[in-house]
Symmetry: C3
Subunit: 134 residues, 3 copies
C-alpha cells in the first residue's frame, strides 16, 4: 500500500490527485487488476469526475453545500456535520481498472480528493490488487 | 478487461446491464473474487438496485432530478452540470462478489447503467480480480 | 466469502459492523489486499464514517431523510421508495485495504450497515481479494 500526503488550504477543496495515484499504481508492479483509492478520514472523500473545466467541480461542490449546509439543525457539536454528510454522499473510496500496469480512466476523468473540513494534513491510501507483471 | 457498448436513447435513462456484466464475469475465468464495473464517463454512473418493479428506478431518478435540477445556478457552460453532480452522487463504479465463477447479487438486485446526459454511445468496463478456476 | 447476519430493530438504523468485518477479513487468510463489504439488499446500504460520537450518524441519517423524505411524490407502491433512494446515494458496497492480514481503517472510521426499511433480518457479504499469507 502506498500513502499519499496531501495538504489542503481551504475548508472545502477539490484536489486533483490523478498523477499521484497513477504513480502509486505503476510502482505496485500490478499489470492487470484494480487500483483502490481510500480516504482514511471521515470529513473528506474521493471521487472521479471531469478535470478539464474547473467549473464542473465548482458546481458539484456548490450543490453538495446546498444539500448539506454548513449550518443546519445538527446534533454533533463539532460544527462539521456537513462534512461528514458530504463524505458519505461522495464516498470514501474509488476504484479504477489497471491494464498493462497503467490506470484506465476515461478521457475526461480525473481522481479528486475532496476536502470538506480543511485546511488539514490528509492521507490517501492506494492499494492495487491483481496479477503481477512477468 | 471487457468493454460493453451501450446506446442510450434519452437524456436520462436507467439501463439494466446485469446480464452483460454476468457474461463478462463468467468469461474472465475468475472463480472466486470481485467483479468491478466502471463507467469511463463523467455524466453517467453505475449503481445496484431493484430491477423487478421499474417504478423504483423512476422514483430514484426523479429524486436525483430534484436534488440536482437540470437548470440551476451553475457556472459550467455546457448545460450538463446536473449530470456531473448525479454522476458523483451515484458513483462511477460498482463492485459485486464472484463465487464459483458467477456474480453474487441479492434476490432483487440488478446492475444499472445510469445515463444522465444522453442520448450517447457509452462504454462500461468490467474488470474481475481474484483466483482463477482450476 | 463470509456472510454476516444482522437483525435490525427500527425502520432506520445505523449498525456498526466493523468488528464482524474485521473478523471476516482475518479469517480469509489474505495478508495484503482489499476487503469488500456488500449489501445484497435494495433498501439498505453500507458506508464508512465516524463511530466515536453517535451524533454524527444521527445527523447523516436526518439529512438523508430530508433529501429523500419517507412520504413523497413516489410511483412505487410499496411505500419504501425513500429507502431505495438512500441505498443508491450511500451505496451497496464499501472497500477497505488489508495489510498484514488486518483491515486498515482511519483512526475515526467505522463500517456501518445502514438499514433504511427495517426492521428486518439482513445479510452482509464480505469478500477479500489479494495475496495470501505464507
Amino acid at each position: 500500500m502506498t500513502s499519499i500526503s496531501i495538504r489542503t488550504r481551504d475548508r472545502t477543496e477539490w484536489q486533483d490527485i490523478t498523477a499521484s495515484v497513477a504513480d502509486a499504481a505503476a510502482q505496485s508492479g500490478v499489470a492487470d487488476g484494480v487500483c483502490h483509492v481510500f480516504v482514511p478520514h471521515t470529513t473528506a472523500a474521493v471521487t472521479i469526475n471531469e478535470n478539464a473545466d474547473p467549473s464542473v467541480v465548482r458546481d458539484i461542490d456548490a450543490t453538495l453545500a446546498r444539500l448539506a449546509p454548513l449550518s443546519g439543525d445538527y446534533t454533533h457539536r463539532e460544527g462539521n456535520s456537513a462534512a461528514h454528510i458530504k463524505s458519505v454522499l461522495v464516498g470514501s473510496s474509488a476504484a479504477v481498472a489497471v491494464e498493462g500496469g497503467e490506470l484506465r480512466l476515461g478521457t475526461w476523468q480525473g481522481i479528486y480528493f475532496c476536502e470538506f473540513d480543511g485546511p488539514r494534513n490528509r492521507q490517501v491510501w492506494v492499494q492495487v490488487v491483481g496479477s503481477s507483471k512477468r
